[in-house]
């Protein structure tokens, strides 16, 4: 299982759904049992880290809202919303 190989590989950059999916598979594999102890410990540690990562994402996320506007020559950019913006 390359995605559970080490603790430090990029958990921090995993989006919630991928972290959750991996966390679920970790729990399922641990529950199935029959693994060598090294793998149990590694999986357990990975599970703890994934769990913490998911919780952090849920707790600390802040909604980002931007406005999409058309620029010259078909270009597009996202800008912050201002209270006096007009529709169009």
């Amino acid at each position: 299982m390359p995605e559970t190989a080490t603790l430090d590989d990029t958990i921090a950059s995993l989006p919630y759904d991928r972290a959750l999916a991996e966390f679920q598979s970790v729990v399922t594999r641990l529950e199935a049992g029959g693994l060598p102890l090294e793998e149990v410990i590694a999986l357990f540690e990975r599970g703890v880290a994934l769990h913490a990562h998911c919780e952090t994402l849920l707790r600390s996320a802040e909604l980002r809202v931007q406005r999409l506007v058309d620029g010259a020559g078909g270009s597009q950019r996202t800008v912050d919303l201002r209270p006096d913006d007009e529709d169009g």
Partner: protein, 445 residues
């Protein structure tokens, strides 16, 4: 006059010289009505009076205004195909033909279509476009795409003014704040609104994030409540077609619960209001938190069960070793297991600490009944952590045991595995000693 004189031909009923049978006169009136083109195909508006449904399933009702009332009936088959039931007090527009019901001697409107009053031309346009687009298959259930389970970016096409965008933001911030919202603003009523909505949708369709190369995962098209005329842009053909052709799944929430627009029919998901559209577009944070709690509990349980076996083996080994007082042997495998369990204990500790702080947080909210259960869980978790902590091989060395290895570094498990004169290395709790074998005995003294 005797009835046996025979009925005169209906065509001559107008001759004043003859006395008519009731049936003859009624038939004559019926014929006049049937011949009048403006009575054959008409719309009439009024308020519904009494309504009754016969055992055969036909519907009888009266339509009235200040000056008159009109008997109406809808045949069962027509009734079932009309998406609208007459109800007392309702103002409506009925379509049909006027005819005479001879046995009762009264005329009535035979209704084959009904609209709520006030629709007028708009209603007719709505129906016509709906029929056309339905025939084209634009509203087919098979065209609907499922909404993404985990959207990262949501496009919102709506007006920047008014409460709608604010409502959507609030729902998203509460339910799934890790989503990114990209707003494409448009006019949602009045002249130019249909074109503006189409432009806003195209703007979203064209966009991709320069960093990730990804566009929107789902789009919300929304507008708040208003009169039928206010919502009309969402019944315009170009808007309906733009919704149907949008490249990613689209949720349309226009007006209040009772408003229906053609744009909603064309959407992948119809929402009764803008807020509902936002809710349907993202997962629920509260559900995910509950899910994480359950999975976290399962992780702890599975971890405990998984180390329970090796721990029991190690305990048994230690008890057995206690019998070999002079020659304490620790198997390399046991040493390895001990190290791993040590590592496991640390991971478990961290996990338990998190669990404990969560339990503490929960305490504030949970009713007293649950307190006992939480206390027990806490005790269990502490016991599990303490059990693992005691398993380190160093703890064993501290108690006077030693690890004996041969010249190659292999842990020695049996006396017969070595011979007199062989060099051995002994690891103690502090430091080690190099020794040479004097004698080999097959059993403990």
């Amino acid at each position: 006059m005797a009835a046996s004189a025979g009925a005169p031909a209906a065509g001559r009923a107008h001759t004043a010289s003859r006395i008519l049978f009731v049936g003859e006169l009624t038939r004559a009136i019926r014929d006049v009505m049937r011949d009048a083109p403006r009575l054959r195909d008409l719309w009439v508006e009024g308020e519904v009076g009494q309504v009754s449904i016969s055992s055969a399933g036909h519907c009888y009702f009266t339509l009235k205004d200040e000056k008159a009332q009109l008997r109406c009936m809808i045949f069962r088959d027509d009734r079932l195909s009309i998406p609208f039931e007459p109800r007392t007090g309702l103002r409506l527009v009925a379509h049909g033909r006027v005819d005479v019901f001879e046995p009762q001697g009264h005329y009535q409107l035979y209704v084959d279509a009904i609209q709520p009053a006030g629709f007028g031309d708009l209603a007719l346009r709505f129906e016509a476009l709906k029929a056309t687009l339905t025939k084209e298959g634009l509203f087919d259930a098979g065209r609907k795409r499922p909404l993404p389970a985990w959207p990262r970016t949501i496009g919102v096409a709506t007006s920047l003014n008014g409460a709608v965008l604010q409502d959507i933001r609030q729902v998203l911030a509460r339910r799934w704040p890790m989503v990114r919202v990209v707003v494409s603003s448009c006019l949602v009523q009045g002249t130019g609104a249909p074109e503006s909505v189409v432009t806003a949708l195209r703007r979203l369709a064209r966009w991709t994030d320069p960093q990730t190369g990804r566009g929107t995962d789902v789009v919300i098209l929304a507008r708040g409540g208003g009169s039928l005329e206010d919502l009309w842009a969402f019944n315009e053909e170009i808007v309906v077609r733009a919704v149907a052709a949008h490249p990613c799944p689209i949720v349309v929430g226009v007006g209040h619960e009772t408003d229906v627009t053609l744009a909603e029919f064309a959407a992948d998901m119809r929402a009764s209001t803008p807020s509902v559209a936002a809710e349907l577009s993202v997962p629920a944070r509260a559900e995910q938190e509950a899910r994480l709690r359950v999975l976290g509990g399962r992780l702890t349980d599975a971890g405990r069960r998984a180390v329970a076996g090796p721990r029991a083996t190690l305990d048994a080994e230690r008890r057995a070793l206690d019998g070999f007082r002079p020659a304490a042997h620790l198997a390399a495998e046991r040493e390895r297991v001990g190290f791993l369990l040590d590592r496991g204990a640390r991971a478990m500790d961290a996990r338990l600490a998190a669990e404990r702080s969560r339990l503490v947080r929960l305490d504030d909210r949970l009713p007293m009944l649950l307190q006992g259960r939480l206390d027990r869980a806490r005790t269990d978790l502490r016991a599990a952590a303490a059990g693992l902590g005691a398993l380190s091989p160093y703890a064993t060395l501290e108690r006077g045991y030693a690890i004996v290895r041969d010249a190659e570094g292999h842990v020695l498990r049996a006396a017969l595995a070595t011979t007199p004169g062989s060099p051995l290395q002994v690891t103690l709790a502090k430091g080690g000693i190099d020794v040479r074998v004097e004698r080999v005995r097959d059993s403990a003294p």
